[in-house]
Structures are given as structure tokens and as C-alpha cells.
Symmetry: C2
Subunit: 128 residues, 2 copies
């Protein structure tokens, strides 16, 4: 993979946040330092970075988000914030093993997303 300034910027942007940004968010940020970068370039590089296991692609409902954190971890999603937070639960590996054995499946990954309301939104006030 040949060097490109665009890819470096895109990589740095993903690594600069814990917010699991969308391609469009990355695009907006990238334009600040490189005003005529194109959205296609952002998508192409996010895919390449994923293929090289430099970042991870995760799915939030129907849209793709990108995560620099390649450690095995789960996500917590607040239905009010919409934002996703990284969390650690200890059971991932054990769960994988159990399913592997029980279902004769060669499990390579587990995606666990907890959906609910964070402490800011779990009282009665509701956004929107």
C-alpha cells in the first residue's frame, strides 16, 4: 500500500476519537486540513485501513462506523444520545468457545451491543 497524505489524515482522524465516527464525519474533519478531499477517497481509505486491520468497521443499525480500537470489546449504545461507547465484558472468549463447541461453528468474532439509556437519559427527560 503506497503512502498517501489523504490516508494518513483519515487514519489520524479515526485514531483521534472514541466516538466511532461515520464516514461522513471523517470526511467533514478531513476537509478542514485538505479542503478538496473527496468522499470517495474517504470511503476507499476507510475500507483499505479495515482490510489492513489498522481500524475496524462496525455497524450501527444501517450505517457503518469506524473504530481504532481493535481490542476485543463490546459496545454500549444510548438510544437517546445515539453515541456508542466501548466497554469491556469478560465473557467474550468464553462465549466464543461455548458456541464453537455447541454449534460446530468456527467462530472468528463476536459482536455484542448493549442498547439502552445512559445515565444522562435514563431519568424521565427525553430528547427531541
Amino acid at each position: 500500500m503506497r503512502y498517501s497524505q489523504q490516508r494518513e489524515i483519515i487514519r489520524d482522524i479515526v485514531f483521534s476519537t472514541n466516538s466511532h465516527p461515520t464516514a461522513d464525519w471523517v470526511y467533514g474533519k478531513a476537509k478542514k486540513s485538505m479542503p478538496n478531499i473527496s468522499l470517495g477517497t474517504v470511503y476507499r481509505n476507510l475500507k483499505q485501513l479495515t482490510d489492513q486491520h489498522i481500524i475496524k468497521t462496525i455497524y450501527d443499525g444501517t450505517i457503518a462506523r469506524y473504530d481504532w480500537n481493535k481490542e476485543s470489546h463490546d459496545h454500549l449504545k444510548c438510544v437517546d444520545c445515539g453515541e456508542m461507547v466501548d466497554i469491556q465484558t469478560s465473557n467474550r472468549e468464553r462465549l466464543k468457545t461455548v458456541v464453537n463447541d455447541k454449534h460446530n461453528f468456527d467462530i472468528t468474532d463476536v459482536e455484542i451491543t448493549f442498547i439502552g439509556k445512559c445515565h444522562k437519559h435514563n431519568k424521565k427527560e427525553k430528547k427531541e
Copy 2:
């Protein structure tokens, strides 16, 4: 919610399979008994059925699938088949409780998807 023949057909189709069909697949099936049903009608009704908790919407990468099984359960996805299979792991409720307490989150749901290769595809032969 007023009765409609279309909605009844759509509901029956989702309830007739374990394959977590996409909207388009449901549309194809529905056309057999009602040739000029429209795709918009399929989407509208799948959403309504979801809102009424008659079916569940699940996401597979970037596309929506529909599941009649409202029981708390996990999914197993074969990267070769692409198909999703329902499975049961015992830890869901415990996981929810742990995260609830540890992160002060009001968890309403957990989505767990195991990704790997089923017994048909976990040897060396590879599709496509």
C-alpha cells in the same frame, strides 16, 4: 391499526421462515399471492409490525432483516453462507445486569452476533 390483506400476507411470510428475510425477499414472496403489491407497502408494514412488537428488525451489516422470533436470542452468522441462524446462550440476562450495574446504563436489549463459518464451510473449501 386497521386490517389490511397486505399486512396479513407480509406477517405470514415473515412467520413462515427462519431465514431472517430481507424486505426484498418478503416482497418477492408477497408478489406471488398479490402481484401488484408495492415494495413501499412491504417496508411500511414491516415497520408497523416491528412497532407493534409483532416481529423484530435486526441488522445484518448494512441491511435490515426481519425475525418473527421475539424471544431473547442470539445470532450465528456464517461468512460463507451469509445466512443467520438463531441460537440460545444462557448469559444474556446476566450480561445485561452486569453492564447495567457497572456502567449505570438502563439496558433494554442486547444484540449478540457470532461471526464465523458453519460446519459446511469451516474446512478448506471456499465458496466463490
